[in-house]
């Protein structure tokens, strides 16, 4: 299958937006993994990144702001044969959806979470996001951001995520390969993707990232402490790569009722369960 097969629609993104290479990498990953579009589900919330389901040929659940993960989990439970991908922004995933992020890392469902992390709110025109660096001045944070930035990779590691990676939209080939690894990973896989917002983030520009990113050697991807060290690097040097890759039992595997046919494909006849009322006799 070719990547073009998965590209569709006219996008609403600004020229030069970091979302374009992310979309191309995702289409490439799906094509190279040879996944039929009807077997893929992309869930998103609201934001520029969250428009992805409209621009990739696959099933799509473009839900509410911050709520990309819960329907993804529900869909996976109903039909575990679907490849479920969550593709949404930093505000959506870490701000409005922070609680779902925390608890789905703990659950460890088999889904890949791609976060388009541009460190700013694009759709609402330039307010700080949870990952904005301190000091960033915006129309709302008029004296500069005063809170420390949320570190999603460190948080995911602390919560027990089995797959933690950081990519940069300017390193498309690396991004595509990381996406493939995340989609194939058994369990919750977090890929935090740094991307410039050409319209509203005047700090973290393409050049800003380009000058800082590097690929460290990850000799043992099951070394949690080493992964944590990489996750905590930020500033003049920003490491990219799969920092941690150590599967643990997935949410679906832990539910005996899900073994066998996907729930959505099992037949049902009300009379077959009538015996359930005998316990009340």
């Amino acid at each position: 299958m070719k990547a073009d097969h998965f590209l569709l629609g006219e996008t609403a993104w600004c020229p030069g937006c970091g979302n374009f290479p992310i979309r191309e990498a995702l289409a490439g990953a799906l094509a190279e993994l040879d996944l039929p579009p009807e077997q893929v589900l992309i869930c998103s919330g609201i934001g520029q990144a969250a428009k992805m389901p409209h621009y990739i040929k696959a099933n799509g659940f473009n839900g509410l702001h911050g709520r990309a993960l819960p329907p993804a989990l529900g869909a996976k439970i109903a039909n575990k044969s679907l490849k479920v991908i969550v593709s949404s922004g930093d505000g959506d995933s870490y701000g409005e959806g922070g609680n779902h992020f925390i608890h789905n890392v703990r659950r460890n469902p088999n889904l890949a979470h791609f976060i388009h992390d541009n460190q700013v709110y694009g759709l609402t025109k330039g307010q700080a996001s949870p990952t904005s660096d301190p000091g960033m001045v915006t129309g709302v944070q008029v004296n500069g951001v005063i809170n420390p930035a949320l570190n999603p990779l460190a948080l995911a590691l602390v919560l027990g995520s089995g797959f933690v990676a950081r990519c940069f939209s300017g390193e498309k080939e690396h991004l595509k390969e990381t996406m493939k690894a995340a989609i194939n990973f058994e369990g919750y896989a977090l890929v935090d993707i740094l991307q410039p917002c050409v319209s509203f983030n005047k700090y973290n520009t393409y050049k800003w990232y380009k000058d800082r990113v590097y690929f460290p050697e990850v000799s043992d991807p099951t070394d949690w402490s080493a992964a944590m060290d990489l996750a905590r690097q930020w500033g003049d040097q920003i490491p990219l790569g799969i920092f941690y890759n150590a599967p643990r039992p997935t949410f679906e595997d832990s539910l005996e009722v899900l073994s066998g046919e996907p729930l959505a494909k099992r037949p049902f006849e009300p009379n077959d369960v009538a015996g359930v009322q005998n316990e009340f006799l």
Partner: protein, 568 residues
């Protein structure tokens, strides 16, 4: 002929043990009963009590008066002795407290001591059951049978409990034996002893519900507990969500992906869900929400009852979209009605809110076994060859219902849903023309949906002069009220709603203008159904009888109000 039993004590003293053991035994033996709970929002201490009423047929409601009181502490006696019949009895443990000297109805049983002698003081409640059996003139074999079943996996426990039971019986003999004659047994089939939440959980299972996501919230949690227990043996997943927002969005994801899905909550949780409710309306994804009401605002009275969320359930959620609101009235009806909720949700691709409340959820009754063959499992998914290609999730149709496919159903076809306004394919649009088309398509579903609503149940005089109107869990108390008022010579009937929204209007329009006095009886402060009737039909209900202290109505309270209006 009837017997009313009240068991009271502090939270944690095990009133439920007594009632469940006694209640189930009575039902097995063929007696009709109802058992309700009044409890505080705490795990230990405070004052909780349960009431059990045994009467011919199956009683519809509990009443104020008490024949036998089991007072596990002194507070129970102090709070309830005024309700005790002159011929009543109080079972109490003289080691725990003593009755006032003038009280001659005492049945002093050393509950703790006898339990310890039988094998452990936790069995004090079993001793009390033994004493109750004697007062009711019952044999012990059914209770023994139940104890064997309950403790079959706990070596020796059944035997010890039987000893405790026998000790309670022996100690009671000297007080009064069979001094509370029971009403005649029901001759027909074996009945279930079941509470409202269990009825709903079982109806969900029988409706093919495969997924429940919820955040525990009294009084809805029993539905979660029921289905979670069943998930050991049946293909249903129960997931405790991190919050109610996650709960409704998970359920929508699962429904979109192809299984019948459910969430349950109470008012505060529903408040968190309403954005998701609106999403269900927009993406036209079937969903059933059980809203077990309790008194608000905010945390309110967490373990008590109210019908305060009717308007909230009809109007909750931003924007305009079709929905249905149904309510649990009796156990008998609610089983089939929750199935109807699932059927409507699938047929019309809408959210359906099923209103319950603490009064319904926590009340046990003896009811006929349910007929599972009456339950529907019609998913209304498109079949191969049954849709126009390429597949479009929101294809415009005359009925407003678009052919629904699920992800992965057909090779090469994908299913896209979007919370933004969308075109037929599900893609974001902003054009006025497409917006109008899509909004009109959704709203068209309301017409046929309204036709599905059952007219309210009419009970009593077919040509009433006085009409009582109600909805939901007041069904039982209103029935007994009608029986009592009819017996006193009034031409009275009740009109009771199970399907509330879209409001069925035929019976209202024919009856309301004809009666001399109409009263809307509601467990809320303002009379929300009365207001809804006025808004939808232009007809005015004469009087509103309201109660919102967190306790269910008793027949005498309604009778008093109706008589007052008659006098004036």
């Amino acid at each position: 002929m009837e017997v009313n039993i009240l068991v009271g004590g502090a939270a944690g003293q095990g009133m439920d043990t007594v009632m469940n053991l006694l209640g189930k035994s009575l039902v097995r033996e063929g007696y009709g009963l109802i058992y309700t709970k009044d409890y505080m929002s705490r795990v230990r201490g405070g004052h909780n009590f349960s009431t059990l009423r045994i009467a011919g047929g199956t009683p519809w409601t509990t009443v104020h008066s008490v024949d036998i009181m089991v007072a596990l502490n002194e507070e129970t006696y102090k709070l309830h002795h005024h309700k005790l019949a002159p011929s009543g009895r109080v079972i109490y443990d003289p080691e725990v407290f003593t009755l006032p000297e003038e009280e001659d109805r005492g049945v002093a049983i050393e509950l703790k001591k006898l339990a310890e002698e039988a094998g452990g003081k936790v069995m004090a409640n079993t001793v009390a059951v033994g004493t109750l059996l004697v007062l009711l003139g019952m044999e012990s074999n059914t209770v023994e049978e139940l104890l064997e079943e309950t403790f079959k996996e706990k070596e020796g426990m059944a035997g010890k409990n039987v000893n405790a039971l026998k000790a309670g019986m022996a100690a009671a003999e000297k007080f009064c034996s069979a001094c509370f004659p029971l009403p005649p047994k029901n001759e027909d089939s074996q009945k279930l002893f079941i509470d409202g939440n269990q009825v709903l959980g079982m109806a969900a299972l029988g409706s093919g519900c495969r997924f429940l996501s919820a955040y525990p919230m009294t009084p809805s949690t029993g539905v979660m507990n029921y289905l979670a227990e069943k998930s050991k043996d049946y293909p249903v997943v129960v997931e405790q969500a991190e919050d109610e927002i996650a709960a409704i969005n998970m359920a929508l994801g699962a429904s979109y992906s192809g299984v019948r899905s459910l969430t349950c909550t109470s008012g505060g949780g529903f408040a968190l869900m309403v954005e998701g409710l609106s999403l269900a309306g927009m993406i036209e994804t079937p969903l059933v929400i059980i809203l077990a009401m309790r008194p608000g605002p905010a945390t309110g009275l967490p373990t008590r009852t109210e019908q305060g969320d009717l308007e909230f359930s009809i109007h909750g959620g931003h924007g305009e979209f079709p929905r249905a609101v149904l309510a649990a009235t009796s156990h008998e009806d609610a089983f089939y009605r929750l199935n109807k909720a699932f059927e409507l949700a699938d047929r019309y691709q809408v959210p359906v809110i099923f209103l319950s409340d603490q009064n319904f959820a926590d009340t046990h009754r003896s009811v006929e076994p349910f007929d599972f063959s009456r339950l529907g499992y019609n998913r209304h998914l498109v079949e191969e060859g049954g849709y126009e290609k390429p597949y479009k999730r929101y294809r415009l149709t005359e009925s407003g219902i678009s052919p629904r496919a699920i992800p992965g159903q057909f090779p090469g076809e994908t299913v896209l849903v979007d919370s933004d306004e969308h075109d037929q394919n599900g893609n974001i649009i902003e054009s006025a023309e497409e917006r109008n088309q899509m909004s009109a398509k959704r709203m068209r579903k309301l017409k046929a949906l309204a036709e599905e609503m059952d007219e309210p149940d009419l009970y009593g005089d077919p040509r009433p002069e006085t009409l009582l109107i109600g909805w939901g869990s007041t069904y039982g108390v209103l029935r007994e009220t009608i029986d009592a008022l009819s017996a006193s010579g009034l031409k009275v009937a009740m009109l009771h709603f199970s399907d509330i929204w879209p409001l069925p209007q035929k019976r209202l329009r024919s009856l309301l203008p004809e009666v001399r006095l109409s009263c809307c009886v509601e467990n809320n402060a303002t009379g929300q159904l009365a207001s809804l009737i006025r808004r939808e039909t232009g007809l005015t209900v004469d009087k509103r009888i309201n109660k919102n202290d967190g306790r269910p109505f008793m027949p005498d309270e309604i009778i008093k109000e109706v008589e007052k209006y008659h006098e004036s």
